[in-house]
Symmetry: C2
Subunit: 338 residues, 2 copies
């Protein structure tokens, strides 16, 4: 068995309470004693027992608040992940409130954040919109010493302790390779993307194009269109890019894949499709051979880890290195389903 705090205390010739203070950098210990205790901890390679810490911490009641943008199939899975983590935390006397925004608007997000801060939660997780109102609200959280984790989408210049999300360039480069393979490593492809105002979509376009030009120079991007994560627009824009009779593939960065596939199918064209996020819809499209590859970026895990990381920070003061946590990027094909 590893050393216990009791043994450390004995060796250092002090009480457990004193060791605890040293461990957490609390005051009330003379410099001399502190140095001695630290030395013993170091030599013994002492690490506090995780279970014991969490169990004793469960004396204190805690509350984590989560703010999510409006639900879609992707966000729905994120929510499920957050709820799963919340369930685990119940026995640790920590509750998790999930608040879902009505609209995808920055002013609503800021307002909700202020309301949440008013209730003084122990921690906040937020799918951050990258704008100044949100930034201001998060600064207030910082002032009030409420730790913040951003998840799914990040925001610059704030003191969030961590971002939990996808490694977007990695997924996009993977998409490029897979679409290139699906079309036989040559030919023309189109990019149908979501709202360009979201940095995630911009990055998905950029990394995709870089990977193509570096690794598959015979595959050219011949068309772009913003389909606004919206089925109707997607259907219409797909019709337009299909006017290129030589189009071999379509890369879809966001929602609306069902409509894209429908347009392709109705025209009886052989155009390969690669998209993101395994949902009921994309799973169906894989099964029906409408889509060749789906790149999943762990929606469930994003929700779950956001909550877990916040808890770990609260009780252990730990944070992933670099202040980021990337969920797995997973490739799905038809045969891998079920």
């Amino acid at each position: 068995m590893p050393f216990t705090i009791r043994q450390i205390a004995e060796i250092a010739g002090v009480s457990r309470g004193t060791v605890d203070k040293v461990l957490h950098g609390r005051e009330g210990v003379s410099d001399e004693v502190r140095a001695r205790v630290e030395e013993v901890i170091r030599k013994a390679d002492y690490v506090p027992n995780r279970l014991a810490t969490e169990l004793s911490q469960s004396m204190k009641e805690r509350r984590i608040a989560i703010l999510m943008t409006p639900l879609n199939p992707f966000a729905e899975k994120v929510r499920e992940g957050a709820l799963a983590a919340a369930k685990e935390l119940r026995e640790l006397n920590c509750s998790v409130d999930v608040l879902i925004m009505r609209e995808f608007r920055e002013d609503e997000q800021a307002e909700s954040l202020h309301q949440i801060i008013d209730t003084h939660p122990d921690g906040i997780a937020v799918m951050a919109l990258d704008g100044n109102l949100t930034r201001e609200a998060l600064r207030r959280a910082e002032e009030e010493h409420i730790p913040v984790v951003t998840f799914v989408s990040d925001i610059a210049d704030t003191a969030r302790i961590c971002f939990v999300g996808q490694d977007i360039p990695r997924g996009a480069r993977t998409a490029a390779e897979l679409l290139a393979r699906a079309v036989g490593q040559k030919g023309r492809v189109a990019i149908l993307h979501g709202p360009i105002s979201m940095s995630a979509h911009r990055q998905r376009i950029e990394s995709f194009e870089n990977e193509l030009s570096e690794g598959f120079p015979q595959v050219q991007v011949s068309g772009f269109a913003d389909i606004h994560d919206d089925d109707e627009t997607a259907y219409r824009e797909t019709g337009l890019v299909l006017e290129d009779r030589k189009l071999a593939g379509i890369y879809v960065t966001g929602a609306g894949v069902g409509a894209v596939a429908r347009a392709v199918k109705e025209q009886g064209r052989n155009v390969r499709i690669v998209c993101f996020d395994l949902t009921r819809e994309t799973e169906r499209l894989l099964r029906e051979d409408e889509v060749d590859f789906v790149i999943d970026q762990g929606a469930f895990g994003q929700g779950r880890e956001a909550v877990r990381l916040l808890w770990n920070y609260l009780v252990h003061k730990t944070v992933p290195k670099e202040g980021r946590f990337y969920t797995d990027t997973t490739i799905y094909v038809k045969a891998l389903l079920k």
Copy 2:
């Protein structure tokens, strides 16, 4: 906060010790009291606190024994996973001994198992060879009430509490789809497989062929060879299958991929390769475009989960449903690396 055992005891009008006995089906409780307590537990939807259980269980010193077949790059990762889990268990007063066989032989496995059983460990995890000597040894473990988990490879007709491993048919079907795509969904492919005496290799062949004939009828299997997980044999046999000048792809079920790729390259042939398990070697082959897809079946996770599941059984008496735990099947392509 959920109910505690203390509250359950109060409501039922008994002591905590009595509730504990009821929870674990121990004797020393009258039928009448048992029924009453069970009713309260049910109504309150009481679940014991996991952390508290484990912490209190750490009073008892435990020992888990692991028996592994000789190391190769795959087994090495499995071992790392087991060691990672072992590290987590140290603070719970549970030690993990890993024993590695000298040779890949059933008699040695049986002998080692008997020696392990002689030391009366609290649990055993074994990469089981499917034969009668091993089977007998595992029966003895059962008689002596030592729980057994098989991992990586399973054995029929024994009372192992669980098997931890790959979903082999799933991986093999995925390999078929990917190789079919890599060769353009038509043409001839060869199967270079490991020791046919191992059921894993037989299954990998069978499911691969099934998926091809169901989903990709224009892809035919034109050659087979046993390469014995061995580089020299692999190189030689690859030369032979390459005599088919129209060969478009090779499916490798086990080790030896490096030699296969070398033979292909030396002949300057354009033959696509799909194989299993991300290792330093296969990672290199992906980077150099020698291999198109690597299907990884979570070696690290297999080692880690074997140990974790055994621990969970020891302290919580829980077992995964169906008595199996499959690690993730993950597709790797070049762009997904790093």
